[in-house]
Protein backbone atom coordinates (compact mmCIF):
# COMPACT_ATOMS: atom_id res chain seq x y z
CA UNK A 1 0.00 0.00 0.00
CA UNK A 2 1.30 3.45 -0.80
CA UNK A 3 1.74 6.18 1.78
CA UNK A 4 -1.06 8.19 0.27
CA UNK A 5 -3.43 5.25 0.57
CA UNK A 6 -2.40 4.69 4.16
CA UNK A 7 -3.13 8.26 5.17
CA UNK A 8 -6.34 8.26 3.16
CA UNK A 9 -7.89 5.43 5.16
CA UNK A 10 -8.59 7.34 8.40
CA UNK A 11 -9.81 10.35 6.41
CA UNK A 12 -12.24 8.15 4.55
CA UNK A 13 -13.46 6.76 7.86
CA UNK A 14 -13.92 10.25 9.27
CA UNK A 15 -15.79 11.47 6.20
CA UNK A 16 -18.02 8.39 6.46
CA UNK A 17 -18.82 9.34 10.08
CA UNK A 18 -19.44 13.00 9.24
CA UNK A 19 -21.53 12.16 6.20
CA UNK A 20 -23.66 9.75 8.19
CA UNK A 21 -23.74 11.65 11.48
CA UNK A 22 -27.53 11.92 11.49
CA UNK A 23 -28.47 8.27 10.90
CA UNK A 24 -25.72 7.12 13.28
CA UNK A 25 -27.09 9.46 15.97
CA UNK A 26 -30.64 8.23 15.35
CA UNK A 27 -29.76 4.56 15.64
CA UNK A 28 -27.42 5.00 18.62
CA UNK A 29 -30.20 6.89 20.37
CA UNK A 30 -32.67 4.08 19.66
CA UNK A 31 -30.14 1.52 20.87
CA UNK A 32 -29.31 3.15 24.22
CA UNK A 33 -32.78 4.49 25.03
CA UNK A 34 -33.98 1.42 26.95
CA UNK A 35 -30.98 1.75 29.31
CA UNK A 36 -32.23 5.16 30.38
CA UNK A 37 -35.80 4.09 30.89
CA UNK A 38 -36.65 4.61 34.53
CA UNK A 39 -38.11 1.47 36.05
CA UNK A 40 -41.65 2.76 36.47
CA UNK A 41 -41.83 4.32 33.01
CA UNK A 42 -40.05 1.55 31.18
CA UNK A 43 -43.07 -0.21 29.72
CA UNK A 44 -44.58 3.04 28.54
CA UNK A 45 -41.39 4.36 26.99
CA UNK A 46 -40.47 1.07 25.33
CA UNK A 47 -43.88 0.57 23.78
CA UNK A 48 -44.00 4.18 22.58
CA UNK A 49 -40.60 4.04 20.88
CA UNK A 50 -41.30 0.56 19.51
CA UNK A 51 -44.33 2.09 17.86
CA UNK A 52 -42.16 4.87 16.44
CA UNK A 53 -39.73 2.36 14.96
CA UNK A 54 -42.47 0.17 13.49
CA UNK A 55 -44.14 3.10 11.75
CA UNK A 56 -40.74 4.36 10.66
CA UNK A 57 -40.33 1.15 8.62
CA UNK A 58 -43.59 1.83 6.79
CA UNK A 59 -42.63 5.50 6.38
CA UNK A 60 -39.27 4.48 4.86
CA UNK A 61 -41.13 2.33 2.35
CA UNK A 62 -43.42 5.21 1.48
CA UNK A 63 -40.44 7.56 1.12
CA UNK A 64 -38.91 5.10 -1.33
CA UNK A 65 -42.07 5.49 -3.42
CA UNK A 66 -42.78 9.20 -2.92
CA UNK A 67 -39.39 10.73 -2.38
CA UNK A 68 -37.46 8.81 -4.99
CA UNK A 69 -40.13 7.78 -7.47
CA UNK A 70 -42.78 10.52 -7.23
CA UNK A 71 -45.29 7.71 -6.62
CA UNK A 72 -47.60 9.23 -4.01
CA UNK A 73 -49.42 6.25 -2.55
CA UNK A 74 -52.50 7.05 -0.50
CA UNK A 75 -53.05 3.43 0.41
CA UNK A 76 -49.85 2.37 2.06
CA UNK A 77 -51.50 1.49 5.38
CA UNK A 78 -53.11 -1.44 3.55
CA UNK A 79 -49.76 -3.22 3.65
CA UNK A 80 -49.46 -2.68 7.41
CA UNK A 81 -52.95 -4.11 7.82
CA UNK A 82 -52.20 -7.10 5.61
CA UNK A 83 -49.07 -7.91 7.61
CA UNK A 84 -50.88 -7.60 10.93
CA UNK A 85 -53.94 -9.56 9.76
CA UNK A 86 -51.75 -12.34 8.44
CA UNK A 87 -50.24 -13.05 11.84
CA UNK A 88 -53.60 -12.46 13.55
CA UNK A 89 -55.37 -15.01 11.37
CA UNK A 90 -52.50 -17.51 11.52
CA UNK A 91 -52.32 -17.14 15.29
CA UNK A 92 -56.07 -17.77 15.63
CA UNK A 93 -55.40 -21.10 13.93
CA UNK A 94 -52.56 -21.82 16.31
CA UNK A 95 -49.71 -20.95 13.94
CA UNK A 96 -47.29 -18.59 15.62
CA UNK A 97 -43.99 -19.80 14.21
CA UNK A 98 -42.10 -16.81 12.88
CA UNK A 99 -40.47 -18.85 10.13
CA UNK A 100 -43.97 -19.42 8.74
CA UNK A 101 -45.78 -16.26 9.81
CA UNK A 102 -43.22 -13.71 8.63
CA UNK A 103 -42.72 -15.16 5.12
CA UNK A 104 -46.49 -15.51 4.72
CA UNK A 105 -47.01 -11.90 5.84
CA UNK A 106 -44.39 -10.69 3.37
CA UNK A 107 -45.74 -12.82 0.51
CA UNK A 108 -49.28 -11.56 1.14
CA UNK A 109 -48.04 -7.96 1.10
CA UNK A 110 -45.94 -8.44 -2.05
CA UNK A 111 -48.78 -10.25 -3.80
CA UNK A 112 -51.15 -7.41 -3.02
CA UNK A 113 -48.51 -4.92 -4.19
CA UNK A 114 -48.16 -6.82 -7.44
CA UNK A 115 -51.90 -7.15 -8.10
CA UNK A 116 -52.53 -3.46 -7.40
CA UNK A 117 -49.22 -2.19 -8.78
CA UNK A 118 -49.80 -3.54 -12.27
CA UNK A 119 -52.95 -1.41 -12.34
CA UNK A 120 -51.86 1.68 -10.34
CA UNK A 121 -48.59 2.15 -12.17
CA UNK A 122 -50.40 2.55 -15.49
CA UNK A 123 -51.63 5.86 -14.11
CA UNK A 124 -49.86 8.99 -13.01
CA UNK A 125 -50.13 11.88 -10.57
CA UNK A 126 -53.57 12.45 -9.09
CA UNK A 127 -54.92 9.26 -10.68
CA UNK A 128 -52.21 7.22 -8.99
CA UNK A 129 -53.17 8.77 -5.65
CA UNK A 130 -56.87 8.02 -6.23
CA UNK A 131 -56.37 4.45 -7.35
CA UNK A 132 -54.02 3.55 -4.48
CA UNK A 133 -56.60 5.05 -2.13
CA UNK A 134 -59.33 2.94 -3.77
CA UNK A 135 -57.34 -0.28 -3.37
CA UNK A 136 -56.56 0.62 0.24
CA UNK A 137 -60.26 1.09 0.94
CA UNK A 138 -61.07 -2.22 -0.72
CA UNK A 139 -58.82 -4.04 1.74
CA UNK A 140 -60.26 -1.99 4.59
CA UNK A 141 -63.83 -3.00 3.78
CA UNK A 142 -62.82 -6.58 3.12
CA UNK A 143 -61.30 -6.77 6.62
CA UNK A 144 -64.40 -5.12 8.10
CA UNK A 145 -66.55 -7.88 6.67
CA UNK A 146 -64.33 -10.73 7.87
CA UNK A 147 -66.81 -11.88 10.51
CA UNK A 148 -64.86 -15.00 11.57
CA UNK A 149 -61.90 -12.76 12.34
CA UNK A 150 -63.64 -10.06 14.30
CA UNK A 151 -65.03 -7.96 11.46
CA UNK A 152 -65.27 -4.30 12.42
CA UNK A 153 -64.23 -4.95 16.02
CA UNK A 154 -60.89 -6.39 15.03
CA UNK A 155 -59.08 -9.46 16.14
CA UNK A 156 -57.17 -10.07 19.34
CA UNK A 157 -53.90 -11.82 18.62
CA UNK A 158 -53.78 -14.45 21.34
CA UNK A 159 -50.18 -15.47 20.97
CA UNK A 160 -47.22 -13.49 19.70
CA UNK A 161 -44.88 -14.97 17.11
CA UNK A 162 -42.35 -17.52 18.30
CA UNK A 163 -39.05 -18.63 16.84
CA UNK A 164 -38.72 -22.42 16.83
CA UNK A 165 -41.10 -22.46 19.78
CA UNK A 166 -39.20 -19.79 21.73
CA UNK A 167 -41.26 -16.74 22.70
CA UNK A 168 -38.78 -14.20 21.29
CA UNK A 169 -41.41 -11.47 21.34
CA UNK A 170 -42.16 -12.45 24.94
CA UNK A 171 -40.97 -9.27 26.62
CA UNK A 172 -41.08 -5.63 25.62
CA UNK A 173 -37.33 -5.25 25.49
CA UNK A 174 -36.98 -8.12 23.02
CA UNK A 175 -39.75 -6.68 20.88
CA UNK A 176 -38.01 -3.31 21.06
CA UNK A 177 -34.68 -4.62 19.83
CA UNK A 178 -36.20 -6.82 17.14
CA UNK A 179 -38.06 -3.78 15.84
CA UNK A 180 -34.83 -1.79 15.95
CA UNK A 181 -33.01 -4.49 14.01
CA UNK A 182 -35.79 -4.54 11.40
CA UNK A 183 -35.72 -0.75 11.12
CA UNK A 184 -31.95 -0.75 10.69
CA UNK A 185 -32.22 -3.49 8.06
CA UNK A 186 -34.98 -1.64 6.20
CA UNK A 187 -33.00 1.60 6.34
CA UNK A 188 -29.79 0.04 5.01
CA UNK A 189 -31.76 -1.77 2.30
CA UNK A 190 -33.41 1.46 1.14
CA UNK A 191 -30.08 3.31 1.20
CA UNK A 192 -28.46 0.59 -0.90
CA UNK A 193 -31.35 0.49 -3.38
CA UNK A 194 -31.37 4.25 -3.89
CA UNK A 195 -27.64 4.33 -4.69
CA UNK A 196 -27.63 1.16 -6.82
CA UNK A 197 -27.94 0.75 -10.57
CA UNK A 198 -31.60 -0.02 -10.07
CA UNK A 199 -32.04 3.08 -7.92
CA UNK A 200 -30.38 5.27 -10.53
CA UNK A 201 -32.88 4.19 -13.19
CA UNK A 202 -35.75 4.50 -10.72
CA UNK A 203 -34.69 7.97 -9.58
CA UNK A 204 -34.13 8.96 -13.18
CA UNK A 205 -37.71 8.01 -13.98
CA UNK A 206 -38.90 10.53 -11.39
CA UNK A 207 -36.79 13.25 -12.99
CA UNK A 208 -37.82 12.55 -16.58
CA UNK A 209 -39.57 9.27 -17.46
CA UNK A 210 -39.56 10.04 -21.19
CA UNK A 211 -35.80 10.49 -21.26
CA UNK A 212 -35.23 7.30 -19.27
CA UNK A 213 -37.44 5.40 -21.73
CA UNK A 214 -35.62 6.81 -24.76
CA UNK A 215 -32.35 5.68 -23.22
CA UNK A 216 -33.74 2.16 -23.29
CA UNK A 217 -35.31 1.41 -19.91
CA UNK A 218 -38.87 0.23 -19.40
CA UNK A 219 -39.79 2.62 -16.60
CA UNK A 220 -42.84 0.62 -15.54
CA UNK A 221 -40.82 -2.46 -14.59
CA UNK A 222 -38.52 -0.47 -12.33
CA UNK A 223 -41.42 1.28 -10.66
CA UNK A 224 -43.23 -2.02 -10.16
CA UNK A 225 -40.22 -3.61 -8.45
CA UNK A 226 -39.89 -0.57 -6.17
CA UNK A 227 -43.59 -0.88 -5.40
CA UNK A 228 -43.16 -4.55 -4.45
CA UNK A 229 -40.24 -3.71 -2.16
CA UNK A 230 -42.23 -0.94 -0.51
CA UNK A 231 -45.14 -3.36 -0.11
CA UNK A 232 -42.91 -5.96 1.56
CA UNK A 233 -41.56 -3.36 4.00
CA UNK A 234 -45.15 -2.30 4.76
CA UNK A 235 -45.96 -5.96 5.47
CA UNK A 236 -42.96 -6.23 7.78
CA UNK A 237 -44.14 -3.15 9.64
CA UNK A 238 -47.58 -4.73 10.04
CA UNK A 239 -46.08 -8.00 11.23
CA UNK A 240 -44.27 -6.13 14.00
CA UNK A 241 -47.26 -3.94 14.82
CA UNK A 242 -49.51 -6.96 15.30
CA UNK A 243 -46.97 -8.47 17.68
CA UNK A 244 -46.55 -5.19 19.54
CA UNK A 245 -50.24 -4.50 20.07
CA UNK A 246 -51.55 -8.09 20.28
CA UNK A 247 -54.42 -6.83 18.21
CA UNK A 248 -55.41 -5.97 14.67
CA UNK A 249 -58.46 -4.18 13.32
CA UNK A 250 -59.58 -2.66 10.02
CA UNK A 251 -58.61 0.73 11.48
CA UNK A 252 -54.98 -0.25 10.90
CA UNK A 253 -55.52 0.23 7.19
CA UNK A 254 -58.01 3.07 7.10
CA UNK A 255 -57.29 5.90 4.71
CA UNK A 256 -56.59 8.12 7.71
CA UNK A 257 -53.70 5.83 8.55
CA UNK A 258 -52.39 6.09 5.00
CA UNK A 259 -52.68 9.85 5.34
CA UNK A 260 -50.70 9.77 8.57
CA UNK A 261 -47.91 7.89 6.81
CA UNK A 262 -47.85 10.57 4.12
CA UNK A 263 -47.67 13.23 6.84
CA UNK A 264 -44.77 11.44 8.53
CA UNK A 265 -42.75 11.40 5.31
CA UNK A 266 -43.55 14.99 4.34
CA UNK A 267 -43.05 16.25 7.91
CA UNK A 268 -39.63 14.63 8.16
CA UNK A 269 -38.52 15.56 4.65
CA UNK A 270 -39.17 13.59 1.47
CA UNK A 271 -36.46 11.78 -0.43
CA UNK A 272 -33.97 11.61 2.43
CA UNK A 273 -34.86 8.32 4.22
CA UNK A 274 -33.54 9.92 7.44
CA UNK A 275 -36.55 12.22 7.22
CA UNK A 276 -38.97 9.28 7.20
CA UNK A 277 -37.64 8.05 10.56
CA UNK A 278 -37.58 11.54 12.06
CA UNK A 279 -41.04 12.25 10.69
CA UNK A 280 -42.46 9.05 12.15
CA UNK A 281 -40.93 9.91 15.54
CA UNK A 282 -42.11 13.53 15.40
CA UNK A 283 -45.63 12.52 14.41
CA UNK A 284 -46.09 9.82 17.02
CA UNK A 285 -44.47 11.82 19.82
CA UNK A 286 -46.51 14.91 18.93
CA UNK A 287 -49.67 12.82 18.86
CA UNK A 288 -48.78 11.37 22.27
CA UNK A 289 -47.90 14.70 23.82
CA UNK A 290 -50.72 16.80 22.34
CA UNK A 291 -53.37 14.19 23.03
CA UNK A 292 -52.30 14.38 26.68
CA UNK A 293 -53.12 18.10 26.65
CA UNK A 294 -56.47 17.91 24.91
CA UNK A 295 -58.50 15.26 23.21
CA UNK A 296 -58.94 17.68 20.31
CA UNK A 297 -55.21 17.50 19.68
CA UNK A 298 -55.63 17.64 15.94
CA UNK A 299 -56.75 21.26 16.33
CA UNK A 300 -53.18 22.03 17.42
CA UNK A 301 -51.44 19.54 15.18
CA UNK A 302 -53.22 20.69 12.02
CA UNK A 303 -51.91 24.27 12.09
CA UNK A 304 -48.40 22.96 12.95
CA UNK A 305 -48.50 20.85 9.79
CA UNK A 306 -49.62 23.84 7.75
CA UNK A 307 -46.66 25.82 9.11
CA UNK A 308 -44.24 23.07 8.15
CA UNK A 309 -45.79 22.75 4.68
CA UNK A 310 -45.62 26.51 4.06
CA UNK A 311 -42.33 27.49 5.69
CA UNK A 312 -40.28 24.31 5.54
CA UNK A 313 -40.73 22.64 2.18
CA UNK A 314 -37.94 20.18 2.97
CA UNK A 315 -39.59 19.11 6.24
CA UNK A 316 -37.69 18.85 9.53
CA UNK A 317 -34.57 17.68 7.68
CA UNK A 318 -34.84 20.75 5.48
CA UNK A 319 -35.00 23.04 8.54
CA UNK A 320 -31.94 21.37 10.04
CA UNK A 321 -29.97 21.69 6.80
CA UNK A 322 -30.89 25.35 6.47
CA UNK A 323 -29.93 26.12 10.09
CA UNK A 324 -26.57 24.46 9.58
CA UNK A 325 -26.08 26.43 6.37
CA UNK A 326 -26.79 29.69 8.24
CA UNK A 327 -24.32 28.88 10.99
CA UNK A 328 -21.62 28.24 8.43
CA UNK A 329 -22.46 31.65 6.98
Amino acid sequence: MTEAALSAAPTARRSFLVGNALPIAIFVLFAVLPAFAVFSAETYLLSLVTRVMIFAIAALALDLLMGYGALVSFGHAAFIGLGAYTIGILSSHGITEILIALPVALVVAVLFAWLTGIVCLRTKGVYFIMITLAFGQMVYFTASSLAPYGGDDGLTIRARSTLAGLPIFGNDRALYYISLACLLGAYLLCRAIVASRFGRVYRGARENPLRVATIGFEVYRYQLVAYLIAGALGGLSGFLLGNATDFVSPAYMSWQRSGELLIMVILGGMGTLNGAIIGAAAFILAEEWLSGITEHWKVIFGPLLVLVAVFARGGLIGIATRLRGMRRG
Partner: protein, 251 residues
Protein backbone atom coordinates in the same frame (compact mmCIF):
# COMPACT_ATOMS: atom_id res chain seq x y z
CA UNK B 1 -29.36 -1.23 -52.25
CA UNK B 2 -32.33 -1.29 -49.89
CA UNK B 3 -30.61 -3.95 -47.82
CA UNK B 4 -27.83 -1.53 -46.94
CA UNK B 5 -30.29 0.88 -45.38
CA UNK B 6 -30.04 1.12 -41.60
CA UNK B 7 -33.44 2.70 -41.47
CA UNK B 8 -36.19 2.31 -44.04
CA UNK B 9 -39.53 4.04 -43.77
CA UNK B 10 -42.24 2.88 -46.14
CA UNK B 11 -45.51 4.70 -46.78
CA UNK B 12 -45.71 6.16 -43.29
CA UNK B 13 -48.96 7.98 -42.47
CA UNK B 14 -50.27 9.76 -39.38
CA UNK B 15 -53.39 11.86 -38.80
CA UNK B 16 -54.09 14.21 -35.92
CA UNK B 17 -57.87 14.33 -36.12
CA UNK B 18 -58.59 15.59 -39.65
CA UNK B 19 -55.06 16.86 -40.14
CA UNK B 20 -52.71 14.71 -42.16
CA UNK B 21 -49.32 15.31 -40.48
CA UNK B 22 -47.41 12.48 -42.11
CA UNK B 23 -48.52 11.70 -45.64
CA UNK B 24 -47.11 8.62 -47.32
CA UNK B 25 -43.52 9.28 -46.27
CA UNK B 26 -40.91 6.92 -47.71
CA UNK B 27 -37.24 7.44 -47.05
CA UNK B 28 -34.14 5.52 -46.07
CA UNK B 29 -30.93 6.19 -44.19
CA UNK B 30 -27.81 4.35 -45.29
CA UNK B 31 -24.79 3.29 -43.31
CA UNK B 32 -22.59 6.24 -42.35
CA UNK B 33 -24.86 8.81 -43.93
CA UNK B 34 -26.26 12.03 -42.47
CA UNK B 35 -29.76 12.45 -43.79
CA UNK B 36 -31.27 15.86 -43.08
CA UNK B 37 -35.01 16.49 -43.00
CA UNK B 38 -35.93 20.11 -43.57
CA UNK B 39 -39.16 21.95 -44.06
CA UNK B 40 -41.19 24.90 -42.74
CA UNK B 41 -42.72 24.96 -39.25
CA UNK B 42 -45.60 22.54 -38.94
CA UNK B 43 -44.37 20.37 -41.81
CA UNK B 44 -44.41 17.33 -39.51
CA UNK B 45 -40.69 16.88 -38.92
CA UNK B 46 -40.88 16.27 -35.17
CA UNK B 47 -43.93 14.05 -35.67
CA UNK B 48 -41.87 11.98 -38.08
CA UNK B 49 -39.00 11.68 -35.56
CA UNK B 50 -41.51 10.74 -32.85
CA UNK B 51 -42.83 7.91 -34.98
CA UNK B 52 -39.35 6.62 -35.78
CA UNK B 53 -38.34 6.67 -32.10
CA UNK B 54 -41.60 5.09 -31.00
CA UNK B 55 -43.14 7.95 -29.05
CA UNK B 56 -46.04 8.04 -31.53
CA UNK B 57 -47.62 5.10 -33.34
CA UNK B 58 -48.15 5.64 -37.09
CA UNK B 59 -51.57 5.02 -38.65
CA UNK B 60 -50.09 3.49 -41.78
CA UNK B 61 -46.80 2.23 -43.15
CA UNK B 62 -43.75 0.44 -41.83
CA UNK B 63 -40.52 1.33 -40.08
CA UNK B 64 -37.66 -1.09 -40.65
CA UNK B 65 -34.57 -0.66 -38.50
CA UNK B 66 -31.48 -2.81 -39.13
CA UNK B 67 -33.56 -5.25 -41.13
CA UNK B 68 -36.22 -5.63 -38.46
CA UNK B 69 -39.77 -4.27 -38.56
CA UNK B 70 -39.97 -2.09 -35.44
CA UNK B 71 -43.27 -0.37 -36.26
CA UNK B 72 -45.04 -1.77 -33.21
CA UNK B 73 -42.13 -2.01 -30.78
CA UNK B 74 -42.24 0.27 -27.73
CA UNK B 75 -39.81 3.16 -27.38
CA UNK B 76 -37.51 1.55 -24.80
CA UNK B 77 -37.09 -1.58 -26.95
CA UNK B 78 -36.15 0.48 -29.99
CA UNK B 79 -33.67 2.39 -27.84
CA UNK B 80 -32.19 -0.87 -26.59
CA UNK B 81 -31.75 -1.97 -30.24
CA UNK B 82 -29.60 1.11 -30.87
CA UNK B 83 -32.03 3.83 -31.91
CA UNK B 84 -31.01 6.97 -30.01
CA UNK B 85 -32.62 10.38 -30.19
CA UNK B 86 -32.29 13.90 -28.93
CA UNK B 87 -35.24 16.16 -28.28
CA UNK B 88 -36.13 19.54 -29.72
CA UNK B 89 -37.10 20.68 -26.24
CA UNK B 90 -34.20 19.76 -23.97
CA UNK B 91 -34.92 16.49 -22.20
CA UNK B 92 -32.39 15.71 -19.49
CA UNK B 93 -32.51 14.68 -15.84
CA UNK B 94 -32.15 18.08 -14.15
CA UNK B 95 -31.48 16.73 -10.65
CA UNK B 96 -28.67 14.43 -11.79
CA UNK B 97 -25.14 15.66 -12.41
CA UNK B 98 -24.07 15.90 -16.05
CA UNK B 99 -21.92 12.82 -15.49
CA UNK B 100 -24.76 10.79 -13.99
CA UNK B 101 -27.06 11.75 -16.89
CA UNK B 102 -24.60 10.19 -19.29
CA UNK B 103 -23.63 7.31 -16.97
CA UNK B 104 -27.29 6.24 -16.94
CA UNK B 105 -27.17 5.94 -20.71
CA UNK B 106 -23.96 3.90 -20.49
CA UNK B 107 -25.62 1.69 -17.90
CA UNK B 108 -28.46 0.95 -20.32
CA UNK B 109 -26.10 -0.90 -22.66
CA UNK B 110 -23.77 -2.54 -20.12
CA UNK B 111 -25.27 -5.33 -18.08
CA UNK B 112 -28.48 -5.59 -16.11
CA UNK B 113 -29.81 -2.65 -14.18
CA UNK B 114 -31.78 -4.88 -11.81
CA UNK B 115 -28.91 -4.70 -9.38
CA UNK B 116 -29.87 -3.47 -5.93
CA UNK B 117 -26.53 -3.38 -4.15
CA UNK B 118 -23.30 -1.60 -4.92
CA UNK B 119 -23.11 2.12 -5.60
CA UNK B 120 -23.74 2.85 -9.26
CA UNK B 121 -21.78 6.10 -8.92
CA UNK B 122 -18.67 4.13 -7.93
CA UNK B 123 -18.67 1.96 -11.07
CA UNK B 124 -15.59 3.24 -12.84
CA UNK B 125 -16.46 1.50 -16.12
CA UNK B 126 -19.67 3.50 -16.32
CA UNK B 127 -18.04 6.76 -15.27
CA UNK B 128 -15.11 6.42 -17.66
CA UNK B 129 -17.37 5.85 -20.67
CA UNK B 130 -19.59 8.71 -19.55
CA UNK B 131 -16.61 11.08 -19.21
CA UNK B 132 -15.53 10.15 -22.71
CA UNK B 133 -18.93 11.11 -24.13
CA UNK B 134 -18.89 14.37 -22.20
CA UNK B 135 -15.43 15.15 -23.54
CA UNK B 136 -16.62 14.58 -27.10
CA UNK B 137 -19.19 17.35 -26.76
CA UNK B 138 -16.88 19.63 -24.79
CA UNK B 139 -18.47 19.18 -21.37
CA UNK B 140 -15.59 17.39 -19.62
CA UNK B 141 -15.10 20.27 -17.20
CA UNK B 142 -18.77 20.37 -16.27
CA UNK B 143 -19.19 16.69 -15.31
CA UNK B 144 -20.11 17.31 -11.67
CA UNK B 145 -22.51 20.20 -12.24
CA UNK B 146 -26.21 19.40 -11.76
CA UNK B 147 -27.67 19.21 -15.27
CA UNK B 148 -30.41 21.66 -14.35
CA UNK B 149 -27.79 24.35 -13.69
CA UNK B 150 -26.04 24.08 -17.07
CA UNK B 151 -26.48 26.86 -19.63
CA UNK B 152 -28.89 26.26 -22.49
CA UNK B 153 -26.10 25.49 -24.94
CA UNK B 154 -24.49 23.11 -22.48
CA UNK B 155 -27.81 21.33 -22.01
CA UNK B 156 -28.04 20.87 -25.77
CA UNK B 157 -24.54 19.40 -25.74
CA UNK B 158 -25.45 17.14 -22.80
CA UNK B 159 -28.44 15.89 -24.75
CA UNK B 160 -26.04 14.89 -27.50
CA UNK B 161 -23.63 13.26 -25.02
CA UNK B 162 -26.46 11.11 -23.64
CA UNK B 163 -27.28 9.90 -27.15
CA UNK B 164 -23.59 9.22 -27.88
CA UNK B 165 -23.19 7.20 -24.72
CA UNK B 166 -25.84 4.81 -25.99
CA UNK B 167 -23.44 3.85 -28.80
CA UNK B 168 -26.31 4.14 -31.26
CA UNK B 169 -26.71 2.38 -34.56
CA UNK B 170 -28.74 5.38 -35.67
CA UNK B 171 -29.01 8.81 -34.12
CA UNK B 172 -32.15 10.92 -34.52
CA UNK B 173 -31.41 14.59 -33.89
CA UNK B 174 -34.45 16.81 -33.49
CA UNK B 175 -33.20 20.39 -33.91
CA UNK B 176 -30.04 19.97 -31.83
CA UNK B 177 -29.20 23.65 -32.35
CA UNK B 178 -32.63 24.94 -31.25
CA UNK B 179 -32.32 28.14 -29.25
CA UNK B 180 -28.53 28.21 -29.10
CA UNK B 181 -26.46 31.31 -29.79
CA UNK B 182 -24.14 31.73 -32.75
CA UNK B 183 -20.98 30.44 -31.04
CA UNK B 184 -22.66 27.49 -29.39
CA UNK B 185 -24.35 26.52 -32.59
CA UNK B 186 -21.02 26.64 -34.44
CA UNK B 187 -19.51 24.44 -31.74
CA UNK B 188 -22.35 21.90 -32.07
CA UNK B 189 -21.92 21.83 -35.85
CA UNK B 190 -18.25 20.97 -35.43
CA UNK B 191 -19.15 18.25 -32.90
CA UNK B 192 -21.65 16.78 -35.36
CA UNK B 193 -19.10 16.94 -38.15
CA UNK B 194 -16.63 14.99 -35.99
CA UNK B 195 -19.31 12.33 -35.44
CA UNK B 196 -20.12 11.95 -39.13
CA UNK B 197 -19.33 8.52 -40.48
CA UNK B 198 -19.29 6.85 -37.06
CA UNK B 199 -22.98 6.13 -37.25
CA UNK B 200 -25.81 7.28 -39.51
CA UNK B 201 -27.87 10.25 -38.40
CA UNK B 202 -31.22 11.79 -39.18
CA UNK B 203 -30.98 15.52 -38.62
CA UNK B 204 -34.00 17.78 -38.36
CA UNK B 205 -32.81 21.36 -38.32
CA UNK B 206 -33.89 24.89 -39.19
CA UNK B 207 -30.39 26.27 -39.49
CA UNK B 208 -29.87 25.93 -43.26
CA UNK B 209 -26.19 26.77 -42.96
CA UNK B 210 -25.72 23.77 -40.68
CA UNK B 211 -27.84 21.49 -42.85
CA UNK B 212 -26.07 22.22 -46.12
CA UNK B 213 -22.68 21.99 -44.39
CA UNK B 214 -23.38 18.58 -42.81
CA UNK B 215 -25.90 16.62 -44.86
CA UNK B 216 -25.11 13.90 -47.38
CA UNK B 217 -28.73 13.79 -48.41
CA UNK B 218 -31.65 16.07 -47.73
CA UNK B 219 -35.36 15.36 -47.76
CA UNK B 220 -37.74 18.30 -47.88
CA UNK B 221 -40.97 17.82 -45.96
CA UNK B 222 -43.96 20.05 -46.63
CA UNK B 223 -47.45 19.45 -45.20
CA UNK B 224 -46.36 15.97 -44.16
CA UNK B 225 -45.24 14.98 -47.69
CA UNK B 226 -41.76 14.50 -49.06
CA UNK B 227 -41.47 17.17 -51.73
CA UNK B 228 -37.96 16.32 -52.83
CA UNK B 229 -35.08 14.15 -51.78
CA UNK B 230 -31.46 14.16 -52.94
CA UNK B 231 -27.99 15.54 -52.43
CA UNK B 232 -27.66 19.10 -51.12
CA UNK B 233 -26.90 20.34 -54.65
CA UNK B 234 -29.88 18.56 -56.19
CA UNK B 235 -32.21 19.90 -53.51
CA UNK B 236 -30.82 23.42 -53.77
CA UNK B 237 -31.40 23.37 -57.52
CA UNK B 238 -34.90 21.86 -57.36
CA UNK B 239 -37.30 24.58 -58.58
CA UNK B 240 -40.20 23.11 -56.55
CA UNK B 241 -38.18 23.29 -53.34
CA UNK B 242 -36.99 26.80 -54.05
CA UNK B 243 -40.53 27.94 -54.72
CA UNK B 244 -42.10 26.24 -51.73
CA UNK B 245 -39.47 26.68 -49.07
CA UNK B 246 -35.88 27.54 -49.77
CA UNK B 247 -36.69 30.74 -51.64
CA UNK B 248 -37.64 32.53 -48.43
CA UNK B 249 -34.94 30.88 -46.34
CA UNK B 250 -32.12 31.69 -48.70
CA UNK B 251 -32.84 35.40 -48.84
Amino acid sequence: MADEAVLRIEGLGKNFGGLRVTDDVTLDVREGELHAVIGPNGAGKTTLINQISGLLAPDAGRIVFCGEDVTTLPMHTRAARGLARSFQITSILPGFSALENVALAVQARSGTSFRFFGRASSEEALNAAARQSLAQVGLAERADVPAGELSHGEKRALELAIALAMEPKLLLLDEPMAGTGHDESARLVSVLRSLKGRFPMVLVEHDMGAVFALADRISVLIYGRILASGTPNQVRADPQVVAAYLGDEME
